[in-house]
């Protein structure tokens, strides 16, 4: 199967960008329907039943992109049409909100023609889209940015969009580690995790061993925050 001959609906209030995206997909042999507001996009979807929808999040008019996505995703007749978000907002919260509303995938502006084609191919199960099952597997290190919310002599509380599983070992990096004489990351054990707004999850981690002078350095760092201790 190829994306040639398939159709896409494009919802964006920027006519210039619609033209750009249309040209890329038309070159790949797709048929394009365009809409500049959510209401007419919904009407077009019902009428033309495109194979994929590409939508912006910030729209002029009554309905926002999120509401539009939720409307399409909750309609049993339209459920099988993947929605690709193409948005200027790069922040986590809006991406997560869009995916939560029912979007299948997202692309951020500035718009990348190659990525758009690849993602369209992926969601339309185009046979040209390469998927490789690796022989064996390899370990890579993943680093997730987070916010250090609190600390004591035993551990730290980190807020991030990852929910760490209890009893697992992770490494923690921050300026606190530098004060403890560790240049990169300190090994820690996960105690537990609870959901929190707006970042996602509040993770409690414990140091896996501090020497006396590391403890003294940590106490010094905490004292500089001038905050009262409290249970959390």
């Amino acid at each position: 199967m190829s994306i040639k001959g398939m159709s896409a609906l494009l919802l964006d209030d920027d006519a210039g960008l619609r033209g750009l995206v249309s040209r890329v997909l038309e070159n790949a042999g797709m048929q394009i329907f365009e809409a500049d507001n959510a209401a007419s996009a919904l009407e077009l979807i019902r009428q033309k039943r495109p194979h994929i929808v590409i939508a912006d999040l910030n729209l002029r008019g009554k309905q926002s992109g999120y509401e539009f996505i939720a409307n399409v995703a909750s309609d049993p007749d339209l459920l099988d049409i993947p929605i690709l978000v193409l948005s200027g907002s790069r922040d986590n919260a809006s991406l997560r909100r869009a995916l939560g509303a029912g979007a299948a995938d997202f692309l951020t502006k500035p718009f990348d023609a190659g990525l758009l084609l690849q993602k369209t191919r992926k969601h339309l199960h185009d046979s040209d889209f390469i998927e490789v099952e690796l022989e064996g597997s390899w370990l890579i290190t993943m680093q997730i940015p987070c916010s250090l919310a609190a600390a004591n002599q035993e551990g730290v509380i980190l807020e991030c969009s990852a929910r760490l599983s209890p009893e697992q070992k992770v490494r923690f990096a921050s300026e606190v580690c530098e004060a403890l004489g560790i240049r990169r990351a300190f090994p820690m054990a996960v105690l537990g995790s609870v959901p929190c707004d707006p970042i996602g999850f509040r993770n409690e981690l414990r140091f896996r061993g501090l020497t006396r002078e590391q403890l003294a350095a940590l106490e010094e760092v905490i004292a500089r925050w001038h905050t009262q201790p409290e249970f959390s």
Partner: protein, 232 residues
């Protein structure tokens, strides 16, 4: 303890020192290594360690037990002496303890066991039953990061498929690093976005990543690599 926490290893075989140095570095504890008891005595005088690891099977007919007795006599009970030996016979263990050793570790050294001993002799003891209150960081929190290993088992044109022990919300930007990248894409670390996270079993997740900011050369290299490794 006025001096910083250091560990001294007395072993004529340098291979153990390499492993131990890497292990201790994770906790910010430097390792001093000496090959002979005389060297060790000099080091202890100039840079007193917090713990001394002694290999019993030293070359040149030096008796490990005599070394232990000598160290105990010279430095008193303030310096914990930990024996590392491949000799598992109860009489050897007993003789080492009688000669002044505080504890005994078998070769090959089990990292978990070593960590337990370090907790006992090096790290500050804590009462896990008695939770300490947390100090909040200044408003807004401090920037930090957590890192852990994930296992890559698939790839496609957009990025990677990997299994993780932790849940990561879609939309989260992460850094992926591996020496493996250098071979394929001539770069060690990449910014990627989590596009999917599905639970596969209890505390086990399948993550899908989109690698961001690849140059067009790198995209070509990536496609070539995928073609070469495509499952027949």
């Amino acid at each position: 303890m006025a001096h910083p926490t250091r560990v001294l290893l007395i072993d004529d075989d340098p291979s153990l020192a390499i492993t131990l140095r890497a292990f201790l570095a994770r906790f910010g504890v430097p390792l001093l290594a000496s090959h002979t008891p005389e060297e060790a005595a000099a080091v202890i005088r100039s840079a007193p360690p917090a713990l001394c690891l002694v290999d019993l099977n030293l070359e040149r007919n030096i008796d490990g037990y005599t070394v232990l007795k000598g160290l105990r006599k010279k430095f008193g009970t303030g310096l914990p002496l930990l024996v590392i030996s491949g000799d598992k016979r109860p009489e050897s263990v007993g003789r080492a303890l009688e000669s002044g050793a505080d504890d005994y570790l078998f070769k090959p050294v089990d990292p978990l066991e070593l960590k337990r001993k370090l907790n006992k002799y090096l790290f500050v003891a804590r009462e896990p039953e008695d939770p300490l209150p947390y100090h909040k960081t200044p408003p807004g929190g401090l920037r930090a990061a957590i890192e852990f290993e994930i296992c890559v088992n698939g790839a496609n044109e957009l990025g990677l498929l990997a299994s993780s022990k932790h849940y990561v919300s879609p939309g989260t930007p992460v850094f992926l690093s591996s020496p493996f990248w250098e071979k394929i894409l001539a770069q060690k670390e990449f910014l990627a976005t989590v596009s999917e996270c599905k639970a596969t079993s209890h505390y086990s997740y399948q993550l899908t990543f989109v690698i961001e900011n690849l140059t067009s050369d790198q995209q070509t290299m990536w496609r070539r690599w995928l073609h070469e490794h495509k499952k027949k």
